[in-house]
């Protein structure tokens, strides 16, 4: 059974190749169906792995042969099936398949329909390679692959008119560059590991690290901090989180798949996978908790001040990733991964429901108000969609309540485990994370009220229509998962905890703490109530009820982008201009001057070449004389 694991990657790759080869010749929905079927087959293989793991929970390593063999460096195409990677595979392929199906509806009529599915399948293949790799280099291939697909999908609509295409491709570049910084950290961590342990295989590295390094050695801290840099890039944590909100320029299914459910959780997976190294460095663990907690709080606060429906969700994603990173930093791997799984359900749901809303509002706009500037993602133009789009509304409610962490939905259990772990080990982080949880409830309630309640504030909202079957069925399935997802790891039963224990060696399973759960639930309800008082009773117009200095700071994202512009982008541009000047003056200049010298020499020598008979004779005679003089002088000497 375990030997089937390469098929998990092979199916999406087959989808890529099929659609690349025949995509131009077959009709629109077929390419999407091919891609979805391939994704579904990968999910089926993942389920087989799950079944195999139940009887043999220690898992297996499947090797397909050597890849690189240089000196003492030996890298093989080997895949690791264990409870951790199988969990990730199930999430990636399961949620991924639903998003593929949704995309068939969402991308209907797009000129590059087939290309979109090629990218989605390619992303799945890279992501599955990332989670199933058995050595760091193979993991890195997947890590880079998902980054590439993210770039391609953010800039998918690079040719939209009116400067929007340019903004889209700028967002793609921004994401790629921010990821590059993180990738450099991961690369350096790999160099350090190879230097210290002479291998990049997980088993060798972790085994040697445990044997040779004492807790708190600088080497362990260095490796762990470099890994953390990689995590901050891919999982959008402070200081590299700025790319994720801009990544919303991509098509909404891509945002749901890559920038909410799967790719951005790669960092959480990486920390869980390399938990051995982090356990050796309390300093690095503290840093991870600090980064995660600060990100959770900062991003949650920014989400309050946004008016773009997808941007709210983007900052929400950053904030929830902060929760996960903080959790795995505390060593609470089960809590972190539990939240990863439930978050994949409800955030993919929220994004796709938001996509459905955008679709509906844009459709409503298509029937009225021609010729005006109109942003179908702006929540201020919505309102009253509850009755226009009932299925979207109810699934959205499920996702929002799960995100806010109301019992008994999925988010309640997973978030509470994180809060519990923080409560027991890091009291300060507990306070900050609880505050972030309160803000989460507030901003998601604000969003629901602005989008679905009250009256339609524009004709577009009043004429919005419900989306089609392809889009609604995945929403309903994910809504169901968001409601019952908590059953994966109920307090006292700890199915997921016992399952992951085989891989992460995490002994403690936190007992349910009614106080922690009660406080967070009460705060979530308080957030809902506050949002209702501010946004639910009066129609929200141009002016936000929270308008003021603080809200202005939130709306402007605490000016983080401007800060980065000042300290990174501008100095870099100046340096580039300087380098360009040097290049033109010195490097190119040297070549140019050499060429001019040669030209001048040629012009000068040309004077002698008259082609006149008399001059030629003079030349011959002159040469003869020189020879004669040499001969005569030579004889004399």
């Amino acid at each position: 059974m375990f030997n089937l694991v390469p098929l998990v990657i092979a199916f999406p790759v087959a989808g890529v190749l099929l659609n690349l080869a025949f995509g131009m010749r077959i009709r629109e929905p077929i390419t999407g169906i091919i891609a979805s079927v391939m994704s579904g087959l990968a999910f089926a293989v993942s389920v087989l792995q799950l079944l195999a793991l139940i009887s043999q929970p220690e898992g297996a390593i499947v090797s397909l042969g050597e890849w690189i063999q240089v000196g003492s460096l030996s890298i093989s195409w080997s895949f690791r099936v264990d409870t951790l990677s199988a969990t990730m595979m199930l999430v990636v392929t399961g949620v991924g398949t639903l998003i593929h199906i949704y995309s068939i509806g969402y991308m209907h009529g797009d000129a590059r329909f087939t290309r979109f599915f090629v990218y989605l399948n390619l992303f799945l293949a890279a992501m599955l390679l990332l989670v199933s790799a058995d050595n760091f280099l193979l993991l890195f291939v997947g890590w880079e692959g998902v980054g590439l697909c993210s770039y391609l999908l953010i800039g998918f609509w690079f040719d939209k008119p009116g400067g929007e295409g340019w903004r889209n491709s700028s967002a793609a570049r921004k994401a790629f560059l921010a990821n590059r910084v993180g990738d450099a950290g991961l690369l350096l961590a790999m160099f350090a590991m190879f230097w210290a342990f002479g291998s990049l295989n997980f088993a060798d590295v972790f085994g040697q690290a445990e044997e040779t390094l004492a807790v708190g050695t600088p080497l362990a801290t260095l490796i762990a901090l470099l890994l953390l840099l990689g995590v901050t890039g891919k999982s959008a944590q402070i200081p590299l989180f700025v790319w994720l909100p801009d990544a919303m320029a991509g098509p909404t299914p891509a945002s749901a798949l890559i920038h909410a459910a799967t790719m951005v959780t790669a960092g959480v997976y990486l920390i869980a996978r390399t938990g051995v190294l982090f356990a050796l460095s309390p300093v690095a663990q503290g840093m991870v908790v600090l980064v995660g907690t600060c990100t959770a709080l900062l991003a949650a606060s920014i989400a309050v001040g946004q008016n773009d429906i997808k941007r709210v969700l983007a900052y929400s994603t950053i904030s929830q990733l902060g929760f996960m990173v903080a959790a795995v930093g505390m060593g609470a791997y089960t809590a972190g991964l539990f939240h990863l799984v439930t978050h994949a359900f409800f955030k993919a749901l929220l994004f796709m429901a938001a996509g459905s809303v955008i679709h509906g509002v844009a459709h409503g706009f298509g029937h009225v108000e021609r010729g005006e500037a109109f942003d179908p993602q702006d929540m201020r133009v919505m309102g009253g969609l509850r009755s226009k789009m009932p299925v979207t509304f109810w699934t959205y409610i499920a996702g929002a309540l799960a995100l806010a962490g109301l019992p008994p939905l999925a988010g309640f259990f997973s978030k509470d485990e994180i809060l519990l772990a923080a409560f027991e080990h890091y009291p300060l982080a507990y306070v900050a994370l609880t505050a972030a949880a309160f803000l989460t409830a507030f901003y998601i309630a604000r969003q629901m009220l602005m989008v679905f309640f009250g009256k339609g504030r524009t004709q577009a909202a009043a004429h919005a229509v419900e989306s089609g079957r392809f889009m609604l069925i995945p929403l309903i399935i994910l809504a169901g998962l968001s409601v019952i997802g908590g059953a994966l790891n109920l307090p006292g039963v700890h199915t997921l905890g016992g399952w992951l224990e085989h891989t992460t060696h995490e002994a403690e399973a936190g007992a349910f703490n009614a106080g922690v759960a009660g406080v967070s639930t009460a705060l979530a309800l308080l957030g809902f109530g506050l949002a209702y008082l501010l946004y639910g009773r009066r129609p929200v117009g141009e002016r936000d009820p929270l308008e003021g200095a603080l809200f202005n700071a939130l709306r402007n994202k605490w000016w983080v982008d401007e800060l980065y512009d000042q300290i990174a982008v501008r100095p870099y541009n100046s340096l580039s201009r300087l380098a360009a000047g040097f290049d033109r003056a010195a490097i190119d200049g040297a070549g140019l001057r050499l060429a001019r010298l040669m030209t001048w020499l040629g012009e000068t020598a040309r004077i002698a070449q008259t082609g006149q008979l008399n001059w030629n004779v003079a030349g011959i005679v002159g040469g003869l004389l020189i020879v004669l003089i040499i001969v005569v002088l030579g004889r004399g000497a």
Binding site: R606, T610, G611, Q612, L613, N614, V617, A618, V621
Partner: protein
Amino acid sequence: MTILQVAAAGALILLGIGLYGLLALRNLIKVVIALQIMVKGVVLALVAAGSLSGQINLGQSLAVTLIVADTVVAVVGLALAVQVRRRFGSLDVRELSTLRG
């Protein structure tokens, strides 16, 4: 002054005149004539050299051979001059250089 010295001086003078003609003259026929004058200087030198080395027969036979060869040169040169005159409409050697650059 021996006869040999006179012959050597005569050969040098003929060479000098021919060389000057080659350098200074522009008319193709005059150039051929200047070449002839130079070759005559060489013939004189050959005969004198034969006499000086005692191989008079060798010197004279070389001189005769050279005269024959030189006649061919003169004929070809004059034939060229005719063709040049036909094609370029002038005998001026400066107008023969069609290479530009």
